[in-house]
Structures are given as C-alpha cells and as structure tokens.
Subunit: 238 residues, 2 copies
DNA sequence: CGCAAACTTGATGTTGCTCAAGCTAGGTGG
DNA sequence: CCACCTAGCTTGAGCAACATCAAGTTTGCG
C-alpha cells in the first residue's frame, strides 16, 4: 500500500514554504519546487522500505513519519521521527537504507531522484543547503548515539520529552508536549521496551517532574529537573 | 597539549592524495589542498575538545583518531574511529560537538574554517563532494544506532570486528585485523564495559569463531559465522 | 455501549555492570 | 640479561537495571 500522487499545483501548496528551498534565491527555489509532487499518506502506511530502489527524495510537508531499521528477527531501531520540513531519502545510495512509515496522516513532497540530482549540480547553493541539512541530521545522530550507548532509561525518556517539546514548540518553551507516536515507537527509538518506557514515565510522574493527563499529552511540572536528568547530571536516586 | 603545525610543502605530502580532493578537478583540488597545513599528533593527544571554538576542519592523513562525547559524570560514548581519508570538524556549528583524540600517532591536514567555507561556495563540486562525505557518515551513524539500541554484546563485537577488518583491508577480505585501540575504547564505542568486551571476545574464541594471538591481533576462523552474528541472524545460544 | 488496541502494573528472569582479584606483556633500571 | 613494575587485559562472583511474561486497565472508536 503505497501513496497516491496528487498534482503539486500552486493551489495545493506554496512553493516558497518548502523547507528544501530555504536560503535559495527565488528563481532557484522555484526550479526545485516545480519538480516536486505532493502525496498523502495515511497513518501506518509505508512511504518506502529499506532495500527498495531509492528513486525519490521526499520532504515532509505535514504530519510525522518514523524511520527505522530492522534486524532479521524483528528487533527494530527507529533512527528518527520526521516532522514538517525534514527531508528523507537523501543519503545517496542505490537502495533506501531504512523504512519510512507514517505515524499521523502525512503530506509529502516527492522529488524524483534523477531530476533532483541534476538540480544539485545546477542550482547554485543547493548542494550547500543539502550539506547543512545533512550535517544537522548527523549532529542529531551523534547525540542519539550518546543516548543509546550511555544513558539510563529515565535519562533517555527525559531527553526524548525535551526533544519532542523543542520540536513542537510553536513559540518556544511551552511546558507541554503532544506525543503523536505510541509507546512502542518511543521504546524502539530509545533502545528500550514499551514496559520500561511506561515505567520510566510513571516514575517521573510520581516524582512530580511531569504530568500525564492522557498517554499522549505530557506537561512538564519541573522542567529544570527534566533537563538535569536529560543531561545526565543527576544521581538516579533523587 | 595541542599539535604543532608543520608546513604543508609538496615535499611532505602529495596534494592529490588528500581525500578531500577526490572527484575534484586538478585546479580545484590544488586550491583546496593549498589552504591545508600538516600537523602531527602523538597517541593520547587531543586535537580539539567538545565546546572549543570550531576554527578548523581536519583530514586524517595517517593514523587513527577517536571522537567522543561525555556526560557530566564521565560516561563516554565514542561516536567514531577515524582513519586516513576521514574528515572531522565538518559539522557546521560555532563550537565542536565532540572531542577528537589520537589513538596512534596521527598526521592531520588542517584547513582554517573561514577559508574552507569560502571554497565551499567557490569551488565547483566541492559542496557536493562534502555532501557525499557527510551522507556516508550519516549512514554509518544510523547503522551504529541499530547496533547500540538493539544488538547484544556478542553481536556488537562481531559487527565491530568486521567493520575494522573492512576498513584496514589493503586488498579485500583478509581474515585478520589489527585493533589499534584498547578494550576501553572498544567498550565506549559499543556501549559496553571493558569486561564485557573481554568476555564477548573470549566467548567467540571458545566457539572457534576467532583467534586471539595477542589482544590487538585477531584472526577470523569462521567469518561466515561472524557475519551471521553481526547481522543478528543467530540465536545467541549456538 | 462494547470492543480491540494500547497502555500500565506486577512478578520473575537474564544480560551486562560492578567490584575485585589475578594475569600478561612491554618497558625500565639494576 | 634478567627482574621488576605498571598498564592493560582477563576472569570470577554477586548485583542491578532492564527485559520478559502475564494480567489488568484505560482509551478511543464504531
């Protein structure tokens, strides 16, 4: 079950709003935007799978995706959650290196690889722009390595909550987050199990650090403490 | 204790051999190479530290470095081992995001950031080249996330040994590796402790998968099995 | 209102960590 | 040349954090 294409008319989206065009001139931005077509993807739907021919680059326009890799026995590692403005399929290889699935309903802008690659060579500043995007992903990946390799369950959860808050913050530091993905996704992102995620959240709730009104809605009752935990500055035992 | 600069004369190094120049034309390569200066670093010496002003980009010419991030209490995650041809300090931020230290004696080529950035804009194909390099680092980082989050100790060690073998292989698949770093570095790269690394190696030795002539020299007695382990295809219990 | 999926909580198990003690190899000085 | 000494490696015993297995409980949707 793959996504349906929808014509990328100017009625459906404002080209200039595409993140891929940030920092490009008006003409360059238009050139990039016009090779894109919009797609809608429903929750749970696969955009592409690890090992598929990498025929397109995508940009998330709205909604949230998960990217993951699997081991043969089904163990899953989510390498990232992508929200509006993120690019995927950019890592240059013949095949996709991970699977991309929609968590919420997602709108994507799809760029065919061959035309995309031509623009990388021809549009001034485009390669540099993609370098900046990729560098930032790399930075995030390195932070995630520190998290996966060396943080405790509680520290992982604290880091995750703050990351989600930072991402959604319309203004800046609203002390609440909506978690659009399930506990299982969170677990597979943090290298934990669903149960451990649930317990770590319960522990933070007990300690008065967070409030769980619904499973998906979390408020920070004590952001300082959450940040100390995330940074690994706190002895575990309060 | 920081590194001494050595003039980058053509006597000391062949410009064309710099990895940073691969795929660039002769003229472009010369332009890039001429802003570089060579440095020597002794084992254990720091090239730069996390949080330092990011004033330079470096290329490893010879030897091996470790990059790592620390938590306040000293927990360390090594995010990569860099050998000849790798770039570091490329992630564009005002400050370095990790510490770089020499494992062996290392020769570096140093590029001042301001001049380097100018070349990114001016030299055709340079940004694209750096994009390819960074994409590849990102791919490696995603593999490492899967390893850190979801692989067992034995699987981590198997993956690590094969990675090291692939890197050093002068020809292709010589069934032996030299491990230039200590057990502690290996542990901090794989999200384990020294003891667990030692035990996992002992286990593989017992099972006849590898041979440990000295701690640093490992032979693969059963590469297929090692690859199955690394891929996570094997039930742990033989 | 009822059902299925997701979340939470509890009891038990296992992997890998911690603490502690030997072992080995390489470098140094007698 | 050999003995010592130290740093790094290995091995062992006990432990803790997180996983697993197994019920409950809540949530959201038809």
């Amino acid at each position: 079950m793959y996504a349906d294409a929808v014509p990328n008319t100017s009625a459906s989206i404002n080209f200039a709003s595409l993140a891929i065009c940030h920092g490009l001139g008006r003409q360059a931005a238009t050139r990039v935007a016009t090779i894109g077509t919009l797609q809608k993807v429903v929750p749970g739907q696969t955009v592409f799978s690890e090992g598929d021919q990498a025929e397109s680059v995508y940009e998330v326009v709205r909604g949230m995706l998960r990217l993951y890799k699997l081991l043969p026995d089904g163990r899953r590692q989510i390498t990232g959650f992508l929200s509006a403005g993120h690019l995927l399929g950019l890592v240059h290889d013949e095949l996709y290196l991970y699977t991309a699935e929609a968590i919420t309903e997602v709108t994507l802008c799809r760029y065919p690889r061959t035309r995309f690659d031509r623009l990388v060579d021809e549009v001034p500043g485009f390669a540099r722009r993609l370098l900046a995007v990729t560098s930032d992903e790399l930075r995030a990946a390195q932070d995630q390595m520190l998290l996966l390799g060396r943080k405790t369950a509680t520290e992982k959860i604290a880091s995750f909550l703050l990351m989600m808050a930072e991402r959604h913050s319309d203004n800046e530091s609203m002390d609440e987050v909506q978690i659009p993905m399930g506990r299982n996704d969170v677990a597979d992102y943090l290298g934990l199990t669903t149960e451990t995620v649930s317990r770590a959240l319960a522990k933070l709730k007990c300690q008065g650090v967070i409030t769980l009104s619904t499973p998906a809605h979390i408020e920070f009752s004590n952001r300082d403490r959450l940040e100390e935990l995330a940074a690994g500055e706190l002895a575990e035992d309060f």
